[in-house]
Point group: C2
Chain length 467, copies 2
């Protein structure tokens, strides 16, 4: 007899993609290899990614491979090979003819995270070229591009020629990611998104690094967040992600340093695009919130160190503080806003910005301490007010968002304001308020303080951060 | 900032299948649930299978789910739910108005496995209705349909009306599987075939049982093979598959008994479609090889017992032997061949059959004992001679195949014939001979005898077979 199922071959899946592949490997065997927990070599990984990108490997085969990789893991070598394949699926910018070590920063995303707006001008003003390519926000997290575009006139769509030109002129360029960068990653991510294969550390690390390595950088600083508003809420997982990112960076010969930073409550007081730019302006003018400034200076200082404009991170941090104090960071910021078409008038005088129509105060219904602020939920409230997007197609209201008046650990009295909502859509206010109140817990006991920066990860391993 | 990859949503995968689904469940959440090792309930499994069959769930989502199921396993309840969903994706034949308990047999496939041709007429002649729906062969294994079709005129394509009519008239019908039976299984199997998700016990068990349960049976006997020529070469895996199959059968209220039988060398002496029919004829005439007859009588006896025409399997086996001896099984065979359009003349006088053009003897190059015969390789040699198909589209030569002259444990002298090849394609002979010789090992030491039937599995568990 026979096994029934063996006779049922390809009905709807009529053309076997095999026939279209370069015939060196058999796709099913490669999927099976990963399924069985074995290691694929560089060429095998490249075969899969390359054929997938060229439409000669089917979505259903790639998704089976991704699920196998998700559950069986990828070795460091596989992860590097995956990154390399995705990186070389598109344009890799070569900035080697521009003098100096080019350094960028990448954050794994959070709520109220406007650090790029602050540290990029600081680092550039200290002489380190910063070729920064950013993305848009989705879900509870914001995106640097959306924040920049809340500045009237500011454009992030630049050609490669302009990208180099702006960088050479200002030591800084703030560009949006184009379709030419790591297209394989784009396709793979879209597939992962619909097949429950997103939350895999090697896949995430490969995705992030393939795009960052395409920018033409020499070194990279990573801000890996943990806590309720982070992509990886679990601290251990965040440490693993940081290690994976640093591993790939070093594998590609780029000095990479990562910090683990707290994202259990929003960073600073502002959440929402223009509101965060406004807070960034205050920071560059020397009037920023402590948490934002502490991380900004550490990341900027590390970038300055990696860019060889300081002999140590400590010296870099001092230079960073100096650049804010003496106004050079501010001047750099104004220069870049102007260069990229932004209205410098509104940056100089943020009070002239077209504010949201509806302002709504959220008040405390009891006395006590703010015990916790669920950053994820606050991000979602901000989205609801118009500051974020649920799907790629949603349109953002640049003026919408939240200004927090209290943060975790602060004392509050019944009737005092916890936060102010900004929106142009009054219909969402009731629901947003309900959600916001649920995201805040007030208690009679002062909560223990959380560390803002927990660990540093570099090629030598993980170290407790203690400065 | 943000996590870069989060902003890259659906590029080529433009229409999210979600929008087309019944909105009760979110496909990605269900994939994630299985990925994380959790159990899906009946409704959730049904949602996936049903939407997939109706084209409102994408191949790439189903393949990710299948890989997750492959690696995380399926519980008995999930396996039963999967079987039920696939079963009800097509026609489920209702034979309840036909008197008697309808019993069928299923084999997981092997080389030289002509048991259905023998036991079906035996069991039917003992008064138990046998509604048998079979498949075609693929790769090294043969298929009952191909064997039946090697009989000139024999047709396995019958309408449902004819199926019932033949069964009522003869207590037996030998039909081919139609597209109406378990179409979801057909699609899922095609997808598994190209995504390295075939070899999963719960998926295999669900696939087999969804088709068998559609036949309208009341009870089922399973021949689960292990050894070099079996789908599951590993004995432990075969036991697990038997348990999974029996579990599903009993879950559906069908009495199910499985035997674990040896497939380390071909069954009987004949491999190839007409050659196996001819050996089957010999068996029904009381002149069959011991191994074929031992398993045939055990399976037939168990079917007769389950069909309530014997009080025990032992009594069933006695009745089976009696049916061969007194010619009633033979008469049943002639009747069914005639009923289904076959040439009874060639069955009565098999020597008038149009034999293959090329006969080729393989002789031993040394003295010794046949130590092992790799059943898989022998199946592949038979395929090469024309008896099998590599892909569904290949055309079979009904006369091609192999007649073994020696089997494992037999003594042989240099120059004596081990086997005779039958083919109409002389070009393949050299290669087939080389392959065949590699598949046979001759040694000075007589090998220890393997047990033909190792275990019996029923609802009470696994028992050593010792009769």
């Amino acid at each position: 007899m026979y096994i029934d199922c063996l006779i049922q071959i390809k009905t709807d899946i009529e053309t076997s993609p095999e026939s279209m592949n370069q015939n060196k490997y058999n796709t099913v065997s490669l999927i099976r290899k990963k399924r069985d927990g074995k290691e694929l070599d560089e060429e095998e990984i490249h075969y899969l990614v390359d054929n997938y990108t060229r439409d000669s490997l089917a979505d259903y085969q790639m998704s089976a491979f991704l699920m196998a990789a998700f559950l069986q893991g990828l070795t460091d070598a596989e992860s590097a090979a995956l990154t390399r394949s995705m990186l070389h699926s598109g344009v890799v910018v070569d900035l080697s003819d521009i003098p100096g070590k080019k350094v960028d920063k990448h954050s794994t995303g959070g709520v109220g995270d406007k650090l790029s707006l602050i540290l990029a001008p600081i680092v550039a003003s200290c002489g380190v070229p910063v070729p920064m390519i950013s993305g848009r926000g989705l879900g509870h997290t914001g995106g640097t591009l959306d924040k920049l575009e809340s500045i009237p006139g500011f454009t992030v769509d630049v050609t490669l020629g302009r990208y180099r030109e702006i960088l050479e002129k200002h030591n800084l360029v703030l560009a949006g990611q184009t379709d030419e960068i790591a297209p394989a990653d784009k396709r793979l991510y879209a597939l992962r998104d619909v097949t429950a294969t997103v939350e895999s550390i090697p896949l995430i690390a490969g995705s992030i690094m393939s795009k960052k390595l395409a920018e033409g950088i020499d070194a990279l600083v990573l801000d890996v967040k943990y806590g309720s508003g982070a992509f990886m809420s679990n601290h251990n997982e965040a440490v693993k992600l940081a290690q994976a990112l640093v591993g790939i960076g070093e594998e590609f010969g780029k000095q990479t340093i990562a910090y683990l930073t707290d994202m259990d409550q929003p960073l600073g007081f502002a959440v929402g695009n223009w509101l965060e730019v406004r807070e960034g302006i205050a920071c560059l003018r020397g009037d920023g919130p402590d948490d934002v400034m502490e991380i900004s200076h550490l990341l900027a200082g590390t970038m300055i160190y990696l860019g060889e404009h300081a002999k140590s991170v400590e010296e870099g941090v001092e230079k960073s503080k100096q650049a804010v104090e003496d106004g050079s960071a501010w001047n750099k910021w104004i220069d870049i806003v102007k260069e990229q078409g932004g209205d410098a008038g509104v940056i100089e005088n943020p009070e002239i910005y077209n504010e949201a129509e509806y302002l709504h105060e959220i008040v405390a219904d009891q006395n006590g301490y703010i015990h916790a602020m669920d950053a994820y939920e606050i991000g979602m409230v901000s989205l609801e007010l118009g500051a974020g997007r649920r799907t790629k197609e949603d349109i953002i209201d640049p003026a919408a968002g939240i200004i927090l008046k209290r943060k975790t650990g602060d004392e509050i009295k019944k009737g005092e304001t916890i936060a102010r909502f900004y929106t142009n859509n009054s219909e969402v206010l009731d629901n947003a308020e309900r959600k916001f109140i649920n995201a805040i817990s007030i208690s009679g006991i002062k909560p223990t303080e959380r560390k803002l920066i927990s660990h540093m990860v570099d090629k030598n391993g993980v170290q407790l951060y203690n400065r």
